[in-house]
Amino acid sequence: MGLMTDLLCSGHAACPGCVEALSLRHVLGALGPDTVAVIPPSCLAIMAGPQPLSGLRIPVYQPALATSAASASGLRRALDALGKKDTQVVVFAGDGGTYDIGFQALSSAAERNENILYVCFDNEGYMNTGAQKSSSTPHFARTGSTPAGKPTRKKNLTAIMAAHEIPYAATASSGFLPDLLRKVEKARAIRGMRLITLLVPCLDGWGVPEDQGIALARLAVQTGVFPLYEVEDGYRFTLNEPHKSRPVRDYLEGQRRYRELDEGVVATLQREVDEGWARLLARL
């Protein structure tokens, strides 16, 4: 990975062991200093603040929650109009701000093929408000608003965004850093709308020990729950290593959000993962 310019300062307010902060540090390093970030309300915004301090060594604009992609579009166009075409405009948003309230604006920015890089730090719920369900929360996961487990499945953001036929859409996991950095660097060199859905386990929201975040981010990929892949122009699919090789049970164990799952539920989740994996292979 070589030397990295540290664009995330120490002393920010993320939880101890936070996988999101670790990921942000590396994503920023791959982007470099000629970048302006748009960060809506989220744990990321906590890391960026509070005034008069800044956790990031680049300018940050913090928009209203529903408006990340629209705000980034306006910023991009202004920089273009002012002749600053090489400056990267990047969105760092959570899954609530992306899959839910920010989705309409995101879809529109994709349709306009705005020249922005949108990184969704996906921790599968509204973790900054204390772990409530978002449309990214997976099936059967318990959250503050789904105490008996979420009755429906996780929305497939990457597939939906790829269906907009944007130049680049990819999944990534904090557990596979070289793959993540390769994707950020690849996305950085492409013009137009780019999306990276980055899985970041939330220690508190998922109910896992401080030292297990990265292990879980790896298991999510190894069990096929969160496959790593890239989609170019909406149709060229590439599957990235590692592939699905372990049972879903290995991923579920040790996460309090999946406590007390009966065998039937585990079997249902395994079937959903197997079917999803088969559908992905069919698109390659």
Partner: protein, 384 residues
């Protein structure tokens, strides 16, 4: 464009688009809505024909339009947009965001009824309901005033770092054709130099916007916003005087029409003032000392000017083409507040006239004025 001023037959909407073109905005996010659409269409035609060098965005909603306007402005670009009614309602969250960010965006709003039920008629409830959002608000009466006000609005916005909304009534102003003087580009460039803000988002500067603040920082920020608002009457008056020196056309932040020695003064906003002028002429003809006070700058409300203009007047009749349920007419309410505590304050009566776009004729206004003295003073506006 030639160096000389041209005279064209323009609608209010097209006059707004000409004003925007002459202001040379760099970013124009915009979403279509009746009756604002001709503004959008003429601006995009200007751009397509090479007459306007700006980045255009057509997002999926007015919410995203205003969302795009704010950081574009904070990056240092001059930003223009236009909307109406539901579009303005959808922007509400971001109107606060824009003024909080001290972004000098200029927006034209075509005043139209607010649903439900659906309707498309002139009614100013849409913009008056945004009076607490930190936007400067101007109301215009004609296509010429609309064009001139777009340019003055940028001068005001950039001088005080606040967004400015200019409001024109649906159809009466937005779609009525009038002869309009279109000033030459060189004149406008001299009046409105390129936007060069002190602060802007740029990696080389490292300034950010929107971080979480403490209670005291928030309080200080709001106070400073209020101080900027307080400067607006003077700044707007100066922007208007300078425009008048260049073009011969001045509009004032308020306008007194035949108020000399008036016993009764009609007060209103926007196109209603045109009709009220006729009523005043008819009343004067009949020997009644009536006048009109047009409020062009509504936010901030120029209380000192209003008090001076109404000193010594016996009766004031406020005509509100808007309705705030539970409060009545917004201008009536605001004017009563502005005159409160004034020695020998006039008797102020409020009439809800033209709500929902119903026609208000000059004869009707004259009749209301004649009857005003007879009616008891009540705190609420009454329905015409």
């Amino acid at each position: 464009m030639s160096a000389a001023e041209t005279r064209s037959l323009l609608t209010g909407n097209h006059a707004v688009a000409w004003g925007a073109r002459l202001a040379r905005p760099k970013v124009v996010p915009v979403y279509p809505i009746t009756p604002q659409t001709p503004v959008l269409e003429l601006l995009t035609e200007f751009q397509a024909a090479g007459g306007l060098d700006a980045e255009f965005l057509t997002p999926e909603s007015e919410h995203s339009v205003m969302a795009a306007c704010i950081p574009a402005s904070l990056a240092g670009a001059r930003v223009f947009t236009a909307t109406a009614s539901q579009g303005l309602m959808l922007m509400h969250e971001l109107l606060h965001y824009a003024s909080g960010a001290r972004a000098p965006i200029v927006m034209a709003n075509v005043n139209r009824t607010v649903a439900s039920p659906w309707a498309f008629w002139p009614d100013q409830t849409d913009s008056l309901a945004q009076r607490d959002t930190g936007w400067v608000q101007l109301y215009v009466e004609s296509a010429q005033e609309a064009l001139d006000t777009v340019l003055q609005a940028f001068r005001i916005a950039e001088a005080v770092s606040l967004p400015v909304m200019l409001n024109l009534d649906a159809f009466y102003v937005s779609h009525a054709l009038e002869p309009v003087h279109v000033p030459p580009q060189a004149l406008v460039d001299a009046y409105l130099p390129a936007y060069a803000p002190e602060h802007f988002l740029d990696p080389e500067r490292g300034e950010s916007w929107g971080n979480v603040v403490t209670q005291d920082m928030y309080r200080r920020h709001r106070k400073s916003l209020g101080e900027a608002m307080a400067r607006v009457p003077e700044v707007a008056a100066e922007a208007d005087r300078e425009w008048q020196a260049l073009t011969g056309r001045g509009w004032g932040i308020t306008e007194r029409y035949r108020c000399e020695g008036a016993d009764l003064v009609i007060v209103s906003l926007g196109s209603m003032c045109g009709t009220a002028r006729e009523a005043v002429d008819a009343l004067r003809e009949a020997g009644i000392a009536a006048g009109l006070l047009k409020v062009r700058l509504f936010r901030p409300l120029p209380a000192a000017e209003l008090r001076a203009a109404l000193a010594g007047v016996r009766d004031v009749l406020v005509l509100d083409r808007n309705f705030s349920p539970g409060a009545g007419g917004v201008l009536h309410q605001e004017l009563r507040g502005a005159l409160y505590g004034m020695k020998h304050a006039p008797d102020v009566r409020g009439v809800l006239a033209g709500v929902g776009g119903v026609n208000v004729s000059a004869a009707m206004i004259a009749e209301l004025a004649r009857g005003a003295r007879i009616e008891d003073i009540v705190p609420e506006a009454v329905w015409a």
